[in-house]
Amino acid sequence: MANKPMLPELMKTHGVSRRAFMKYCASLTSLMALSPALVPRVAHALETAMRPSVIWLSFQECTGCTESITRSHAPTLEDLIFNSVSLDYHHTLQAASGHAAEAAREQAMKDNYGKYLLIVDGSIPLDNPGYSCIAGISNLDMLKETAAGAAAIVAIGTCAAYGGIPHANPNPTGAVSVSDIIKDKPIINVPGCPPIPVVMTGVLAHFLTFGIPELDELGRPKAFYGESIHDRCYRRPFYDKGKFAETFDDEGARAGWCLYKLGCKGPTTHSACATVKWNNGVSFPIEAGHPCLGCTEPDFWDNGGFYKPLSVPSGDYRKMGVAAVVGGAAVGVASALLAKAGKAKAVQNHETVDAHDLEKSS
């Protein structure tokens, strides 16, 4: 199915007008966070792009990422993007099962060797390959095998990108991310738990039109992960004015004040939630009154507690403080007693000063 119909053909068969294509290109450009001046280039790229084969592998995951990307029912941008690719293997979505499913994957790999796009969600267990297998093949083997012929890999969701929840302490399966295993392929990380659907499609659109987007040091497309939630947050003015919700049901919470003190990780979290938002742009967690968990960041699960402000130490420091008081006092008493003993000795050794022995004998 790959390399055949291109997007304009698809649109024509759906009875979509050129004006609609213009609207689509404009919105897509906005979605990819590109300048409106690039709309013609996006249009041209879409008109000429080949329809790529996509293999989607799901490892230690919860299917939340797939849920997220398939959430919209209306013919939206996401649909169009997905219609422009050939999803040849996705064990949750595909109709085929068992040997037929695996055969589809192998066929797609063979037909498109070196050209297909590999999408991965979920982490890969290293402690014991048996922890997670598909069709008797361990995740590790399947990833290595499938990655070998991929043009590029998109690690969808925090698990695939950074290990995610399976990787959280104490990481019983020895879960790692795609980039921990595959070193010789371009990897685009699209973290989030799950990622925003339009971000996933935006990344795919970018890959289809302009290839690999510009990535940050954590392998994330800068267009969507370039800025922190905090910098783009509509509640930021309250942070700057020093107005904070103290509990989830106080005046500040009702008035929509900053959620920093309720543990918001916005300042250290890079994601487009605050601008792109969720559920077709309806809202995002902070707008719904909940602090950001920081799910697009590595090890977000181990960041010291979701409701602990960033500035609050994550450990049980009170115990440490009490121990320090006791320890400090003990050492202090010992040291002081030593000093006092020295002084007592000095008092004992006091040689009475007489007016006639104030001069040195020598």
């Binding site: 402000p309 609050v312 450990g315 420091y317 040291s335």
Partner: protein
Amino acid sequence: MNNPAFDLLMWARGPGFDIALAIFIGGIVLRLTEIIILGRKKDMAPAKGNGFLQGLKTIFSRSVPRKGLIKFAPVTYLGGYIFHLGFFIAFFFFAPHIALIQDAFGISWPAAGRVIIESVTALAVLAVVALTYSRLTDPVRKSLTTFDDYLVLLLSVLPLITGYVAVNKLFGDPTMMLAVHLLSVEALMIAFPFTKLMHAVSFVFARYYNGSIQGRKGAES
């Protein structure tokens, strides 16, 4: 995949803070114990004034400079006040810091806005620059200054600068800068009991003793 900046931040928030706190508190308790246990002899001379009350009063009243002296050491006085006030305001009225205090002690108060926090931070940094300059050039300050003094100035100004950079994202990765900010505070905490930073606690005792000695005699302090 790991984010070294994030890992460093988590270390600074976790074990790093615990270690720093243990040294900070343990060290302060140690030094204060050393002082208090040393004790002082009971004064046999009949008191003319109330040494205890004047001691307590002096803890606060000595914060006001004695009349006419500011003009002889303007940099030390003004720099000192601006630094201390700036550091105090930035520390106690910046919301993330209040959150820490609230977590530790369960008390909190309204936070100051960004304009105030950043202004006082900038002023405090300038004050440290002026104080350092005076240590390098003024003969009295120069003759008194040891390595300890420069270390203390550096350790006091680093949290201000790193905090300002982290909040304003002036350069570097913000997560990394936040981690660096916490680490700079932890350096300050670790050095605190063993350097002249200790004055921030022991001044209470020094002023009390001074006030009580003078107060017993009915003299001013």
